[in-house]
Symmetry: C2
Amino acid sequence: MTATEIIGLLAASLTTAAFFPQVIKTVKSKSTKDISLPMYSLMFAGTVSWLVYGLLIFDLPIILANGISSIASFVIFYFKFREVLHHKKAAK
Amino acid sequence: MTATEIIGLLAASLTTAAFFPQVIKTVKSKSTKDISLPMYSLMFAGTVSWLVYGLLIFDLPIILANGISSIASFVIFYFKFREVLHHKKAAK
């Protein structure tokens, strides 16, 4: 494995792992006031697009990293969306 | 441009654009209670690693997307870190 490949794998591992502390914090606290709904809408759509791209070029690191990231970003999106719905209901 | 390339560019645009609504929300509200510090530490380290990887293989989309994402994730990291420091000082 070349140094460049190692840096690429490190990069993919870091940006994939990054979602986990946020998922754990959000699932535990269920508080999403400071989290941006458009961020996680775009991030979910983006990681799913990366996953499709990875499947099309059959690149395993892209498939794995974005398979995991799309699930993680969906979980955060779900909790934020639930809070937004709840606030709309409460405002009625 | 092939359909696969278009999906790749769409994916890169979406995951890069995703950070902006969060940056705007965080800079405006300066409230980061629900945001995870380890997420943005890892995301900043990860996007900088992707940037280095892009420079090594000289891939312009990777360079552009991660140059932008690393600045955006640093801004969110900075506001969260400032809040954590402030709370530590207040607790003394």
